[in-house]
Symmetry: C2
Subunit: 448 residues, 2 copies
Amino acid sequence: MKFVIIGGDAAGLSAASRAKRAKPELEVTVLEQSEDVSYSACGMPYNIADPDRDIQELVVRRAEVFREKQGIDLRTGHRVDRIDREARTVSGRSAEGDFELPWDRLLIATGASSIIPAIPGVELPGVFSLKVLADGGRIKQWLREGQDRIRRCVVVGSGYIGLEMCEALRARGLEVAVVKPRPRLLPWLAEELVAEVRSELERQGVELHFGEGVEAIESAAEGLLLKTSERELAAEMVLFAIGVQPNNELAVDAGLDLGAGQAVAVDRSLRTSDPEIFAAGDCADAFHIVSGERVWIPLALRANRAGWAVADMVTGRGEPHLSGIAGTAVFKVFDLQVARTGLSEAEAKAAGFEPAAVTIRSRSRAHSHPGSSPIWVQMVGDRASGRLLGCQMVGREGAAHRINAPAVALHAAMTVADYAQIDAAYAPPFGPTWDPTLVAANQLLKKL
Amino acid sequence: MKFVIIGGDAAGLSAASRAKRAKPELEVTVLEQSEDVSYSACGMPYNIADPDRDIQELVVRRAEVFREKQGIDLRTGHRVDRIDREARTVSGRSAEGDFELPWDRLLIATGASSIIPAIPGVELPGVFSLKVLADGGRIKQWLREGQDRIRRCVVVGSGYIGLEMCEALRARGLEVAVVKPRPRLLPWLAEELVAEVRSELERQGVELHFGEGVEAIESAAEGLLLKTSERELAAEMVLFAIGVQPNNELAVDAGLDLGAGQAVAVDRSLRTSDPEIFAAGDCADAFHIVSGERVWIPLALRANRAGWAVADMVTGRGEPHLSGIAGTAVFKVFDLQVARTGLSEAEAKAAGFEPAAVTIRSRSRAHSHPGSSPIWVQMVGDRASGRLLGCQMVGREGAAHRINAPAVALHAAMTVADYAQIDAAYAPPFGPTWDPTLVAANQLLKKL
């Protein structure tokens, strides 16, 4: 049986590896349009922060390992242009010419791409986005070659990547300005928590211009000139980080259904609307564990896990044990940890719940323990059912790993009352006797 | 109605505060034998580590606040000698003389005491234990007054307190030797994890003598001489940290039932065998969330929570929403975080499960992220039901807060397969894409 996979990153190679391991006689072919496979995309901002590190250090497993040790027919530089569902083939181009390959089972793992707005100047040298390894390489090269000249960067957008890149670019000694069309930073984050992120950015010398659309980028004497609705910003570098979109073109052309966020719609076993074609990773949607609704939240763990689940389907292990996603995420903004799981208050309302929310401020260490810093927790519950719906956290320490406890509670569909009873760990260096999430749960109970 | 509470620390004062807040007309009297109330006992090793901090900094709320702001009749220096269940009174002694007080509802929150073995020399100056604030004060005074003379301490026992005190005493510049009768360090901890703790202690210059009983302490020319079954150790200070025992004397004399670990037996609503008498905190037992069995695991969060639950019972809020305990705990041993929740493999076997266990080594940060360190996870599941039974972790970062996620899973009686599906947070500075607990769960699944 021939198992063909389009895309050689997290989802595609997880599926390939697990399928080949389970069923060595399976012919597994992976078609990757770039030359890079199996790398830590999320590590790029941290790699860029350090001029002495090579971007290739982010490669987790080299192509030869997949080919020679794992017996996977991994072809880089192979761009698929068409899926033929009738003939059960994929066709495309590589440096060696056109190719066409038959498949019995197909996995679409084409990922997502940075959104670049259709404004003048986005093609100018010095204008970047950051999604694939080559993007990271280009940015490092630009910084290296222009190290005497490049002093300023404008980051357009302020999601995870944008904010992580603010830190990376400040670490490289650049002045950084953030421009974003929408007036509010991190619109999904509770207001008090946003305020902390904002003041951390300001404390770190990042200039913020929110509520300003970017209209054009022009070439100027000393570099680039970025024009917003309000001002002109001179810089030697511009980074677009306004978000990503699923690479759904092949699926659309093949007549497959789209789901949330224009991602490829998949059922709970990752089948697309064609039961022999699967989709996984950043190009596919998922079911939310709290709302039950289709959502598109492209994140690395899900991509890996979905790849495994597809392998289990293809190798005949049967329907995978694959839960929905909680949208659990964490990122670092300079010295702050920002974490979330589940639904925000607004998302809960939109999903038909009757949310109540509290925001509390606690401490990262016990009463009187030295080195303590504030930790903010927002918790959302449902008035109708008492169920825990979501949790968000911001702090200088102790937020990143703490978020997984409410995440587990969401998977277990726990009530806030049940969560408030969790026997959580306590020692003075690591938190107060009542874990901050328990303080939030106790407060939230009063509103439910 | 008169609500009398014996003991003015976590459980007693949590109960007093919450009861008085819910029902201001309630007469709440707290009888505390010492002069210290409401302090962070767990913070004592960290306070002792710093000669410039006063032990009184550990007081969370002063006695006057309870008296004047909260309207609680808090009497320090009042030692209760007898509970009369017929007459519904307690009697005892204070500096002002004997007292007798009537009660309608009584809470026994007498805590626990350090175990001091019956060997010669334990009463010598320089021999300490560490349970109450006065113990901490005495140790600080001893170190301060003898700062030119005190160079060596022998810690007898190696539980949480013993190991935390190793760190504190090393921070004070002392040479530290640990002596313990049992041959194995932290017998509840998985072997590979124990090895890490042991090498951390050695790395920090702590001398270890395990499997040696302490036979006597003698006064010597330059201080003390501690004699074990194997050797003589000279020191200027000895700390007994071989464990604690519940202060159950009043309950025993009153004919109340004892439960696990000779603690006062309580039902799920914290009633003792006399339904008008409650017990909470370190003197009372509890039900384990995994085994359902009575256990005695005296920890601070439970004491606070049990105090609240008793207040709800006394003020007529009805049966409290009080879950069992998971035995979740964390402590710091120099640069290591050691955390646990649920049952160890041996405990699981003893509780009638068919445990399978795996130990994995993962990293605290993502592939190629700088500053990463190893993190060990042991996970225990039940072959018969597939249920998650327990988890242990050791690492230099990321263990302390990570343990709460499996703790929540224990409360939800999740299977290992369900836990393996948790949508956990990922960002390169905080862990690998697959959270270490997920790596452990995936491995454990293969053995179930």
